[in-house]
Symmetry: C2
Subunit: 194 residues, 2 copies
DNA sequence: CGCGCGATTGAGTAATTTCAAATCTAGTGG
DNA sequence: CCACTAGATTTGAAATTACTCAATCGCGCG
């Protein structure tokens, strides 16, 4: 995707699905976002970083992940366009990142500072409503995934994931899918060849 | 615990930790809550119910759980005093309950209708802020638990749970702990006797 | 053509589950 | 105070499942 893209329109649409802002309000909100480009493989948040932004994906695909002591990676989230990503624990509690975020493909993001988000939430009630809605969606999704983890085996979770985001199949290497499902890549491979 | 208890003071404290409301505002907010008593084992939300309330625990202990086709139970959350519980998926998306909620011990709760919550969020900006904060906490906690599920074995998760809520050990039967950790009760038993 | 990364396959091992049986514990009624 | 019962917990043994490690395969790109 060589060039521009109306970041503003994309964000505006996204927000308008939930709350209505006047044009001035939206312009003001938008002025707090910074657009950034990243290349495939590039890190956005690395373990140990101070985290003060969250990222809205315009284009491309990010992953947020954790790497344990045995250097095994676990993927918390794939972030596709109009999704948000960050280390929300560090972002809200002010610690250093334990969750990393990087780019699976070349990506365009809008980045919003946490202090700015709080300011906007304070100044414009509908913005606060929007962020409550968004977090709520994330919460419900996380609970669903947790349940699926406890209840379903890896094959079932694999099919669930593919049904939900068919696009992933072509974009992300299978080992990342395995890291999302919480199984070894060998196990995943055996799963869908039988 | 034979008798009263200042429900109002408990909720007021809880909210005041996050946002400040005037006394009139809080009185108004509080007027939308209904206090209810439940006995040990009693159901608050059952699978298939229409869900239109969420519950703030004043006293006692609830669990929210899912039961699968093989009648195996998985616990999403133990709700202790000042925690909130409901089937948030059904509550926000308007479906029937797939998650049930019941009482592990005799309990006192304050119940808030979803329509009322939205009304209050609309009318009083700080209330919306409060609920955003609360949901955010839940979101971060759910992500942490998800990671722990992928990364740690059952023993580790058991120790984590006990470190976080030592009170549970004396209150809830071990099989419920197992249902929370996502292991069989036999495995849990073997875990902490070695 | 051959390198390198990702994906697959095989074999042995470790962890968890299931099913069944034995044990423990708190509360009840005599 | 004791016997009894229901529910909870523990233990054993076999079966299942996923893991690791190692080797092989397949394919795109220089």
């Amino acid at each position: 995707m060589p060039f521009p893209m109306d970041a503003k329109a994309i964000l505006k649409d996204h927000i308008a699905k939930i709350v209505s802002l006047t044009d001035e309000q939206f312009d003001y909100v938008f002025s707090h976002f910074k657009q950034q480009s990243y290349k495939k493989g590039q890190a956005i948040i690395s373990e140990g970083d101070k985290v003060d932004c969250e990222y809205f994906v315009l284009e491309g695909c990010l992953k947020s992940f954790y790497i344990n002591d045995e250097v095994k990676m676990f993927i918390l989230q794939f972030a596709m366009p109009t999704w948000w990503a960050s280390d929300y624990n560090a972002l809200y509690n002010g610690g250093r990142a334990t969750i990393s975020v990087d780019c699976i493909t070349d990506s365009q993001v809008l980045c919003l500072n946490s202090a700015d988000r709080e300011k906007l939430c304070n100044e414009i009630h509908p913005v606060e409503h929007f962020f409550r809605w968004r977090t709520n969606k994330g919460y419900v999704a996380a609970q669903k995934r947790l349940l699926s983890f406890m209840n379903n085996d890896a094959r079932h979770r694999y099919e669930e994931l593919m049904a939900l985001y068919p696009a992933l199949y072509n974009i992300v290497p299978k080992q990342l899918i395995a890291a999302y499902l919480g199984v070894s890549r060998e196990t995943l491979s055996r799963l869908y060849n039988s």
